[in-house]
């Protein structure tokens, strides 16, 4: 289990347990004692204004304004005269992320509170919490207990169904999630229509990351101004971050938006590299990490985004090209294979990047990589090709010097064995098994 560490701000942690509680699991009584009762409004819609005032954005990676999604579902439901569906997305299909599983383990009731509150706000008659199948034994059991506790206390007004995501990288994607819940393979579908218009069972559907719902559950109790007490003016509030440094377990920490990155990366040399945002994220240099803060406004200048709060510092003895090659290979194998550009582009990008990492690349290789990244971006039904292209392009920039070294048969890393590209335990966590048959998607 990942360890939880307390950041330096006194208003925090909000979602994670207080220091004195350590990593203790919160049962329903402890939850209500710490946060107070679940503040139902007894009216649809009013919560949406508070969420707008708070400026809460999605914590699943896209940072979409929550009130706009709520309003879209509310409006579609009203217009089409169909009760909507609300779904808490805890699939966390990104291998490098662990904050959602940690949150569901430590504070499931906050997430479940948030789910009830959005259900009430949009008038939903169906509520689903989606978690990762690989965590069925710990997180899954914890959730089943939590739901049972709430049933016994008749706390939930909309019964919550629990469902599990297959171990596919795309399983947490909004439309893939809905496909899977509907008994189909966990692959994306084309949008339009948006899921807020027509989603699960054809009903207007709200899909919200579990961390987002936890914040919402607190905003409903303490108000928008409280939420804005930390963070920046344009990106208020706190967020959970998954920190990975050197060897050892990842840490989950709750931090205010706008926090200096160097407090998360630790001391990094200018020529070291940091991966922000997971496998659809961006590699930046240690130099950049020393000056940037954890918010989209400043990260944008480096071509990066906060994403789902993953901050990985590449140890000095590791090769960024080898690590990235492993990740890109994984991303290619996790393509749904539905769209021509992604199906054709990602395997070729993976092969070419592997050549780069092995020092077998020619001048054509880097040209091919740039061209293919340009060809795949934006041309799939989902953002998988875009995200992969983003990772690859940022690696080509951040590891340009390393690529030159590899071309001369050298590598700056000491932890890859005798030759560049020789296999050893990768630093970036890559699942061993990828999809092979249709069953792997169901």
């Amino acid at each position: 289990m990942t360890t939880v560490t307390e950041p330096t701000m006194t208003e925090l942690p909000r979602l994670l347990p207080a220091a004195q509680d350590g990593n203790q699991v919160q049962d329903l009584r402890a939850h209500l004692a710490r946060y107070g009762r679940l503040p139902y409004r007894d009216r649809m819609g009013t919560l949406i204004h508070d969420i707008e005032a708070a400026g809460l954005t999605g914590r699943g990676g896209a940072a979409f304004p929550v009130h706009r999604k709520l309003a879209a579902v509310y409006e579609a439901s009203d217009r089409r005269r169909r009760p909507p569906v609300v779904i808490a997305n805890g699939a966390e299909s990104e291998p490098a992320s662990d904050k959602d599983a940690t949150l569901l383990w430590l504070a499931p009731h906050l997430v479940l509170d948030g789910l009830q509150l959005v259900a009430e706000a949009v008038g939903a008659d169906t509520a689903i919490l989606y978690s990762h199948a690989d965590r069925s034994n710990d997180v899954g059991r914890r959730l089943r207990n939590a739901v049972a506790e709430r049933e016994a206390a008749t706390l939930d007004r909309v019964p919550v169904q629990l469902a599990e995501a297959p171990p596919r990288f795309l399983a947490g994607q909004e439309t893939a999630l809905i496909n899977h819940l509907s008994g189909r393979p966990s692959v994306p579908r084309f949008v339009p229509p948006r899921v807020t218009e027509r989603g699960y069972n054809g009903a207007p559907t709200l899909v919200q990351n579990v961390e987002t719902l936890a914040h919402l559950a607190l905003i409903a109790r303490r108000g928008p101004r409280w939420f804005r007490a930390v963070g920046t003016r344009d990106e208020p509030g706190s967020m959970l971050a998954t920190i990975r440094r050197a060897e050892g377990q990842p840490r989950i920490t709750e931090v205010p938006l706008g926090m200096p990155l160097k407090e998360l990366t630790g001391d990094v040399r200018p020529d070291q590299a940091v991966l922000l945002g997971g496998y659809h994220g961006t590699w930046i240099s240690g130099q950049q990490a020393a000056t940037l803060t954890l918010d989209n406004a400043t990260l944008g200048s480096a071509g990066a985004r906060v994403g789902a709060g993953i901050v990985i510092t590449l140890p000095a003895d590791r090769c960024g090209l080898v690590e990235t090659a492993n990740a890109v290979r994984y991303l290619a194998l996790e393509s749904a294979g539905q769209c021509g550009p992604c199906l054709n582009g990602l395997p070729r990008i993976a092969a070419a990047f592997a050549e780069l990492a092995r020092g077998r690349a020619g001048p054509q290789t880097r040209e091919d990589l740039e061209r293919w990244c340009g060809l795949v971006a934006g041309r799939g039904a989902c953002h998988h090709p875009d995200g992969t292209a983003n990772l690859v392009r940022s690696a080509l920039i951040t590891f340009a010097a390393e690529a030159d070294r590899h071309a001369r048969g050298r590598c700056s890393a000491t932890n890859t064995g005798a030759n560049p590209g020789a296999s050893s335990t990768p630093f970036l966590p890559i699942p061993r098994t990828t999809a092979r048959t249709e069953d792997d998607w169901t």
Partner: protein, 68 residues
């Protein structure tokens, strides 16, 4: 009323009839899949755009009312 072309990349099999009929707005990539100009269709090409939509064997190419 401005319209624009979109392609459903899941239905698209890279047949290429669309690019034959509307080369001004649709080209094919090195794998045969269409690269569609996302801007509103210029007047004068509307008829050809409709023909391209009809010619798609998988109905992947669609005309959408442009909201931009």
């Amino acid at each position: 009323m401005a319209e624009k072309l979109i392609v459903n990349p899941i239905d698209c099999k890279g047949h290429g009839a669309c690019a034959e009929l509307l080369p001004e707005l649709i080209t094919t990539d090195e794998w045969g899949y269409p690269i569609v100009d996302p801007r509103p269709i210029p007047p004068g090409l509307e008829r050809h755009a409709r023909a391209a939509v009809s010619a798609c064997p998988t109905l992947a190419l669609k005309l959408l009312r442009s909201t931009t």
